[in-house]
């Protein structure tokens, strides 16, 4: 896909997102009020933050299945450490998660283990760590201190709270990193074709470690922030997070085989999914409708994407065949 085709691809996805938004905005007033949009943005923070990390590993041609468990462990760690202060505990939590991510990247890169296989192990193992650290129960901030975390969702600038503004910053930084830095381009390179990347002198280990560090840190950030906002963490929490993050990435055009996609696409996928799931739930539809709608939407997007790719390839072949000589 060349740059122009990629731009059109994003345009079509954005139009699709707008269509989903409009479908619900016609019915739900909170889809166009300041408070409503602020709530939509706040509700997107967890999945948005984690999706960027998952998307980066997908761009590298890998997959991090452990994000939900890592978010849960980090949530437990942060709530248990909240006595040292909200921001310090948040920083400790994110550094802890980044370290776990880096270690996973190092092991996968050095040993050449399939990341799907390895992160299935860490998905299960980290859940066990969360259960041990929490003594198999929810850990909470004292009820009289719940208001200490209100600042996360206090309106900051129009529809933005510190939480949603933070998510936007993470999106921008990740986008700039992937597009304009050497390390970011290396992630695309090893995802687009590992043999070719190696032949071109791109190191394999560094981008692998960076991709998994990002994934770990962002899963930790999402888990930590949400746990602080809720005032508690549960060892079995965030178990649907991986599925939501993967759906977001696929809806945003991140290729499973790696090397193709963008942070803008992830943002589009995120809001397409959030507009749909939030809208269906707000209408009071049964839970299965949420599943049907999200699953159906993903299938529509993937099938249309596949048909478009085949159509484009056929046209390219025909053009080649018609060329003289």
């Amino acid at each position: 896909m060349n740059r122009r085709e990629a731009a059109i691809d994003l345009g079509v996805r954005a139009a699709f997102m707008a269509l989903v938004y409009l479908a619900f905005a016609l019915q739900l007033p909170n889809y166009y009020t300041v408070h409503g949009i602020a709530a939509l943005l706040d509700g997107a923070v967890l999945i948005g933050t984690v999706s960027i990390g998952v998307g980066i590993t997908m761009l590298a041609g890998e997959f991090d299945l452990s994000v939900g468990s890592l978010a849960a462990v980090t949530g437990v760690v942060v709530i248990k450490m909240v006595g040292i202060g909200i921001i310090p505990s948040l920083i400790v939590g994110v550094l802890f998660a980044a370290a776990i991510g880096a270690l996973q990247g190092l092991i996968i890169g050095v040993l050449g283990i399939n990341s799907l296989v390895f992160t299935i192990g860490s998905l299960i193992g980290l859940r066990g760590v969360a259960l041990i650290l929490s003594h198999e129960n929810s850990v909470t901030i004292p009820i009289d201190q719940l208001s200490d975390t209100d600042f996360f969702t206090t309106p900051l600038l129009g529809v933005f709270s510190p939480l949603s503004a933070g998510m936007v910053i993470v999106f921008v930084v990740a986008g700039l990193f992937l597009r304009f830095t050497r390390w970011g381009r290396e992630i695309y390179a090893i995802g687009g074709g590992r043999t070719e990347a190696k032949a071109a002198g791109v190191p394999l280990l560094r981008p692998m470690i960076i991709a998994f560090t990002c994934s770990g840190a962002l899963a930790g950030l999402g888990g930590a922030v949400l746990s602080l906002r809720l005032g508690s963490a549960t060892p079995l929490g965030f178990d649907t997070l991986l599925l939501s993050a993967a759906t977001t990435c696929l809806m945003g055009g991140i290729a499973l085989e790696g090397g193709r996609g963008s942070v803008v696409g992830i943002a589009i996928g995120l809001f397409t999914l959030r507009f749909l799931v939030t809208g269906v739930a707000s209408l009071g539809a049964p839970y299965y409708v949420q599943n049907l709608a999200a699953g159906g939407l993903l299938i529509v997007v993937v099938v249309v994407q596949l048909l478009a790719t085949r159509h484009r390839q056929r046209r390219a072949r025909m053009t080649l065949a018609l060329q003289p000589g």
Binding site: R4, I8, N30, L46, E136, S138, T140, Y287, L307
Partner: protein, 360 residues
């Protein structure tokens, strides 16, 4: 080149049109659901994919209709973060709500959302999970099951069955609980242990709510303790169904070698009637939903809450009256039924027979 690219995206555009057509029924379906009524009750709860929760919804809808209220049930995935997002979204909608009914997936983790609901000034009726001490200022009334009483009833029934059994000398046993972090599970476990101090617990294992989860958990732990298990307490009969299957596969005969108690009729009653379960408690999901809506209505009608707790009468034929104010804690009855067919067949509560309350 550009024209070629745009042509190649003609398909996605047609896909957009298809998706628009798919989405439109959702919108129009909602419009039809809103008729004129006395007000709107909004329920936040985990998904109705569990048959207990589906029955709860039926009871709540039936009572809301009876009282002339619209009801909107917002189901979350089994994830407190998702439920919190739904609460924020509902509050932001500015929708005129008469009362909220709050069923958190993880009680402790839901306190922040409960607090947010309470700040709207709309009455909040807590249901199903016993409120955490210290959260009293965030809710108006509790309506639903008493987890402590439920487990205590099951424990006493088990102790009695042990004393009467000619084949089992109860000593060591297992507790299979709801998932880790689900407060109803830990509340029940605490109450069970307190009510049956002479029973030795070899292992307490968090599991889930459904038979397949009970089976999976029991299959993993029974082989290691096969020779010493004399009783098993699960926290509902659905989990017990799974445990009974696992016991049989390990060569143990429920009711003869091992006494099993779930304490909440939940789904199928085959194992109750064939004696694999020693009996059951009728904690009826339908009546819990019904009672939650009734308590909300009683508050809206009187603007009063009476201090203390009340156990709603276990009248076989007549449901409790809609008149008067609710209490702070409004517990549904939890009568015990033995595994004798005659007891099961003759049982009635609030005009509903056992099969209607327990077989779903």
């Amino acid at each position: 080149m550009l024209r070629t690219s745009i042509r190649s995206f003609g398909l996605p555009l047609r896909g957009l049109a298809m998706a628009a057509a798919l989405l439109s029924p959702l919108m129009f379906g909602h419009s039809a659901a809103r008729a004129e009524s006395k007000g709107l009750l909004v329920v936040f709860m985990p998904p109705g994919t569990d048959n207990y929760l589906a029955q709860w919804q039926k009871g709540a809808r039936a009572k809301a209709k009876d009282l002339g209220y619209d009801i909107k049930i917002i189901e979350s995935s089994r994830d407190q973060a998702e439920q919190d997002s739904q609460v924020q979204q509902e509050i932001a909608s500015g929708e005129k709500v008469s009362g909220y009914i709050w069923w958190p997936y993880v009680n402790a983790a839901g306190t922040g959302s409960l607090r947010a609901l309470s700040k709207t000034g709309v009455p909040v009726v807590f249901t199903n999970q016993y409120p955490i001490p210290g959260t009293e200022k965030f809710w108006t009334a509790y309506a639903g099951v008493n987890d402590f009483l439920n487990a205590e009833t099951a424990a006493k029934a088990l102790v009695k069955a042990c004393a009467e059994s000619k084949t089992v000398k109860c000593n060591k046993g297992l507790i299979i609980t709801f998932p880790a972090g689900y407060s109803a599970g830990s509340d029940r476990e605490k109450a069970f242990r307190k009510a049956a101090p002479n029973l030795t617990v070899i292992q307490s294992q968090p599991s889930g709510f459904m038979a397949q989860e009970g089976y999976k958990t029991a299959s993993q732990i029974i082989p290691a303790h096969k020779s010493e298990i004399t009783w098993v307490y699960t926290e509902n009969d659905s989990l017990a169904d799974g445990v009974i299957q696992a016991l049989k596969e390990n060569g143990l005969q429920p009711g003869k070698d091992v006494l099993v108690v779930g304490g909440v009729c939940h789904g199928d009653t085959t194992n109750l009637l064939n004696g694999s379960l020693i009996g059951t408690g009728v904690q009826a999901a339908f009546l819990e939903g019904w009672s939650s809506v009734q308590s909300t209505y009683k508050y809206l009608n009187t603007k009063k809450v009476l201090d203390g707790a009340v156990y709603l009468p276990d009248d076989p034929n007549k449901p409790p009256s809609d008149d008067g104010a609710p209490h702070r804690y409004n517990f549904i009855p939890n009568p015990w039924v033995t595994n004798a067919k005659a007891d099961v067949d003759s049982f009635k509560l609030w005009g509903y027979p056992f099969k209607e309350l327990c077989n779903y």
